[in-house]
């Protein structure tokens, strides 16, 4: 007897009752894919190159003699290998990717097209300045947008990631204290307990001792605790705003006033700038330095973990300390100041070999221009609206960590609602995978027990949000109904079942090596 599917087409009769393991380990279109080292690629190449006229013998004893151990793939084999691998990945182009604090939004392909214009991708970082005027114009234009959106007078573009930007900001702060002769006594940086791990790591890295600031019951910086710790031994505070609980720091003006009165600088972690872009300028909050993750707010793709870009906007007080290089503009066109000695003796140095992440600048500027000032304001509004919608629609089944008042761009739940079910946040997350969703961020921020941090971003439609919400509600219902088997051991339908992370850390295997007795190279 045949059945009909939801679009009225016949489906297979007599659904198979048991699910025998396949003979190859593959599952339908999802194939097991061996490592490139396990194939027959030794000696093979997928690139046609002319025969060299030299054997390199003029290099004598500098030549490599032994095999390197690099298998090759013909072009069709390479295509298939990587396409098969790609099919084992979740991606924002497949479905909502609600990783809180990571900000996974649509990546417009126009950005990719622009970054690949030969005029940007095929230029060398050390070409004569006269031949890269358009590239410098792009950097200058990006800087103008960032400064205008943040209300800050200066920007350092070169940091290569958010944490690199934090480093840049704190080094500028340190340089400023050194310049005013206060560095010796100002050796502390205040960081709230809810901060990203990068904040205390950066402060410690730059030589400061980290002092934690308590959090109030409603998820914000405890201003009284902050005030009691501020003194003339404090170099800076580091505050994320909106914070990692997804909340706006209501007392932010008071926080910056107290900080400045104590002679310290206010570093803002701008990872969550997408929640306020176009509606709030950090410069108006008294911020002295803030990094902007271009990949988060301005949609440069994450590409499996990077590359990122973390330009830092700086206040008047810190601007003179910005690292080289930077772009200046006069009647003669654009120039690149590459050595801090050249025009600003106070610059604290250089953070990387060249100009930073030009490819990310191009993508970010494309995104900004596409939205415009009005669209970017809408970005913040929709990001916040979407998060609050999720929070509102799930709060009757799941426990919101901070139920009172709106959240910003992310909705935070704790595991209070799972009490007595024998199901953990991890189990719940893995069961989401079976339903076709990437799990939310788990166990972060640390200040909330069993945290589940959901960030939909502004590029999700209401229909996709509803689909996600219905799935979450169904799962929450199953958890409360005692359907433990659905959660313990999940995922059951992913390419792999739950992976043993402890084993990987206990006896690390970080590379392929030829099995014993094998004649494979290396």
């Amino acid at each position: 007897m045949s059945t009909m599917n939801t679009v009225g087409r016949p489906t297979a009769p007599n659904p198979v009752q048991t699910k025998p393991a396949t003979l190859t380990g593959g599952r339908g279109l999802l194939q097991n894919e061996a490592l490139i080292f396990e194939g027959d690629g030794w000696g093979k190449t997928g690139v046609d190159l002319p025969e060299p006229k030299t054997d390199g013998s003029d290099l004598g004893d500098l030549l490599r003699k032994d095999p390197i151990g690099l298998p090759g793939l013909s072009e069709p084999e390479a295509m298939r290998h990587y396409v098969r691998l790609s099919q084992k990945n979740h991606a924002i182009d497949l479905a909502i990717y609600p990783l809180g604090s990571c900000t996974m939004k649509h990546n417009p392909r126009l950005n990719e097209k622009m970054a690949r214009l030969p005029g940007f991708s095929d230029i060398h970082p050390l070409q004569p300045i006269s031949t890269v005027q358009g590239a410098l114009e792009l950097m200058d234009t990006l800087a103008h947008w960032l400064k205008t959106l943040t209300g800050m007078p200066a920007v350092a573009l070169s940091p290569k990631a958010g944490a690199h930007g934090e480093l840049c900001g704190l080094m500028a702060i340190r340089a400023a204290h050194e310049a005013s002769g206060q560095h010796e006594k100002r050796r502390k940086v205040l960081v709230p307990t809810s901060a990203h791990g990068t904040n205390p790591a950066t402060a410690a890295f730059v030589g400061y001792s980290v002092v934690e600031v308590a959090q109030t019951e409603d998820g914000r910086v405890d201003v009284a605790d902050l005030a009691s710790k501020l003194g003339d031994d404090v170099a800076a505070i580091m505050v994320t705003n909106p914070n990692t609980c997804g909340l706006f720091e209501r007392d932010i003006l008071e926080i910056s006033r107290l900080t400045h009165e104590a002679g310290a600088y206010f570093y803002c972690d701008g990872a969550n700038f997408n929640a306020i872009v176009g509606r709030v300028r950090p410069g108006d909050l008294g911020v002295d330095a803030m990094h902007i993750n271009l990949h988060k707010t301005f949609s440069t793709p994450h590409g499996g973990g990077g590359p990122g870009a973390g330009p830092v906007v700086l206040s008047e007080a810190l601007a003179p300390f910005a690292p080289a290089p930077w772009v200046v503009h006069d009647d003669g066109g654009y120039r690149l100041i590459e050595r801090e000695e050249d025009e600003a003796e106070q610059a604290f140095g250089r953070l990387c070999a060249f100009q930073g992440q030009m490819g990310m600048y191009t993508r970010a500027l494309s995104y900004m221009m596409s939205h415009g000032a009005d669209g970017l304001r809408q970005v913040a509004e929709d990001a916040v609206l979407n998060a609050n919608y999720i929070k509102a629609r799930l709060s009757d089944l799941m426990s919101a960590a901070f139920p009172d008042g709106p959240c910003m761009h992310e909705a935070l739940f704790d595991d209070e609602w799972l009490k007595g079910t024998d199901i953990t946040t991890l189990d719940f997350a893995k069961a989401m995978i079976d339903e076709g969703f990437h799990p939310m961020t788990m166990y972060f921020p640390l200040v909330v027990h069993g945290a589940m941090l959901i960030e939909p971003t502004e590029t999700e439609s209401k229909a996709e949000l509803d689909r996600f919400i219905e799935a979450m509600r169904a799962l929450a219902g199953a958890a409360k109904a005692g359907d433990v088997d659905r959660f313990k051991g999940a995922p059951f339908h992913a390419p792999l079942k739950r992976l043993d992370e402890t084993r990987a850390a206990r006896s690390p295997v970080l590379r392929w090596t030829a099995p014993e007795g094998s004649n494979k190279a290396a």
Binding site: V47, G72, N89, T131, P307, L351, M358, G372, P406, H438
Partner: protein, 448 residues
């Protein structure tokens, strides 16, 4: 606002579900004084066509490497990248995925990172490699920091052949944590000079080969001297293709390799994003910075891959983390690993030989010009020449004639007393005709 899917009706319905009257209700926590009433002073929403025109106009003002005789190197190299590479990295499942925190649905990323780590380890001749850092220069800085952690010593000796921007980037970061550096004076062939500077407080010696002047050196003796004094040897490589032909850093005794991987699979991109390669010895892996992918099994015993050893990182250790690195160059590692898989050992060796061949031909052409002195003796694909005139001025003059002749050393290190030195690189993309044009136009500018 084509990227924003909510309709006005959606927004109304959602606000109702939340129980808010207007969007402003959701921003109540923002102090009144800090709220913007309307859009900031920037252009308004622009269609795809408009944006494309604006950016294309900027792009058109730049001279692209592929359009002119091109000889710039000094840490960034023009190579041909097979079309397959860029196609695959633009697949949605790679381009638009995140850090593989959920390994069950990120095996694509994790497996390529594992393959990448193996390729980098084999290429550098080292036992293990990480999943990449930002670029070669930041990798060098991380290498120095790691050496100070491992040796519990506080000083780095840096050879005069290391790229000046790498030295600057490293000094900026390591000085902040109180690590001292001794950067030796720039020298075309100065690697051995580092040996004399090794002392009981030396954490590491940093050498680059081929160095910024192109000189390729066997650093085995420096490794021996460093090890005898209890210091580590860090080998910096800015041209990854060179390792296809030359003795690997591992073979010469390196403890840490910090290299730039841009040459394999990645475009010039005006300096970034690039891909830092980082490899070391097995016993040092817990001190290694950056992300690592490790092999493990799933609940059915199937092989799989996960991010591992995160206990070194700041999201666990916070202010006691081993480094501040929080990311890797994911997509650039993918480009690297695809290009490397296509090349294979056979292709890489051939590519390396072609690079060397073109550089030798370029050297021969320039050496024949009266007044031009070739400074680099043994090199891979880059060498230094001394000109009878200021090199930066010569380069500017040649640029006006649509020839990008190389990088004046003074661009990297003004005041080093090498204003007449020009760094010239050739790769497989260099045509014989390009070499002839370079030689002819240089002769003309020099009045030779």
């Amino acid at each position: 606002m084509r990227y924003l899917p909510l309709t006005p009706d959606d927004r109304t319905a959602m606000l109702a579900a939340i129980g808010a009257k207007s969007i402003d209700d959701l921003f109540v926590d923002v102090p009144q004084a800090a709220r913007l009433d309307g859009p900031v002073d920037l252009p308004r929403v622009a269609g795809e066509l408009e944006v494309e025109r604006a950016l294309s106009a900027m792009a058109a003002k730049n001279a692209t490497a592929g359009a002119v005789p091109f000889f710039c190197g000094a840490g960034a190299y023009k190579h041909h990248v097979p079309a397959t590479v860029d196609h695959v990295i633009q697949r949605s499942e790679f381009l638009t995925s995140y850090t593989p925190y959920q390994p069950e649905i990120a095996q694509g990323t994790l497996q390529y990172l594992y393959e990448f780590q193996t390729q980098v380890a084999n290429l550098t001749g080292m036992p293990v490699a990480n999943a990449s850092l930002y670029d070669g220069s930041t990798a060098m800085a991380e290498g120095v920091l790691m050496a100070t952690r491992v040796t519990r010593r506080n000083k780095a000796v840096i050879s005069g052949g290391v790229h000046p921007h790498y030295i600057k980037a490293t000094e900026t970061v390591v000085h902040a944590v109180g690590v001292e550096t001794l950067a030796l004076p720039a020298a075309v062939d100065g690697e051995a000079a580092a040996i004399d500077q090794i002392g009981p407080d030396t954490a590491c010696v940093v050498v680059q080969t081929p160095n910024v002047f192109g000189t390729a050196t066997d650093v085995t003796k420096i490794a021996e001297a460093a090890h005898a004094a209890g210091a580590l040897l860090i080998v910096v490589v800015t041209e990854a293709v060179s390792m296809g032909l030359l003795k690997s850093p591992g073979e010469m005794g390196a403890d840490i390799v910090a290299a730039e991987g841009q040459s394999i699979g990645n475009a010039l991109n005006f300096g970034g994003p690039y891909v830092g390669l980082f490899a070391t010895r097995e016993k040092l892996i817990r001190q290694m910075p950056g992300r690592l992918t490790g092999e493990t099994v799933d609940a059915d015993g199937e092989r799989g891959f996960v991010l591992t050893l995160s206990t070194r990182e700041q999201h666990i250790r916070r202010d006691k983390a081993t480094s501040n690195i929080c990311t890797n160059s994911g997509l650039c590692t993918l480009a690297f690993t695809i290009h490397m898989s296509l090349l294979g050992e056979t292709g890489l060796r051939k590519l390396a030989l072609l690079n060397h061949e073109k550089a030798v031909a370029t050297r021969d052409a320039l050496a024949a010009i009266p007044g031009v002195e070739v400074l680099t003796d043994r090199f891979f694909n880059e060498f230094a020449v001394r000109l009878p005139k200021n090199a930066a001025e010569v380069v500017d003059q040649l640029a006006a004639h649509h020839v990008l002749a190389g990088v004046p050393y003074s661009r990297l290190a003004p005041g080093a007393g090498m204003d007449d030195v020009l760094l010239v690189a050739a790769t497989e993309t260099t045509l014989d005709a390009d070499i002839q044009i370079l030689a002819k136009s240089l002769s003309k500018v020099l009045g030779a």
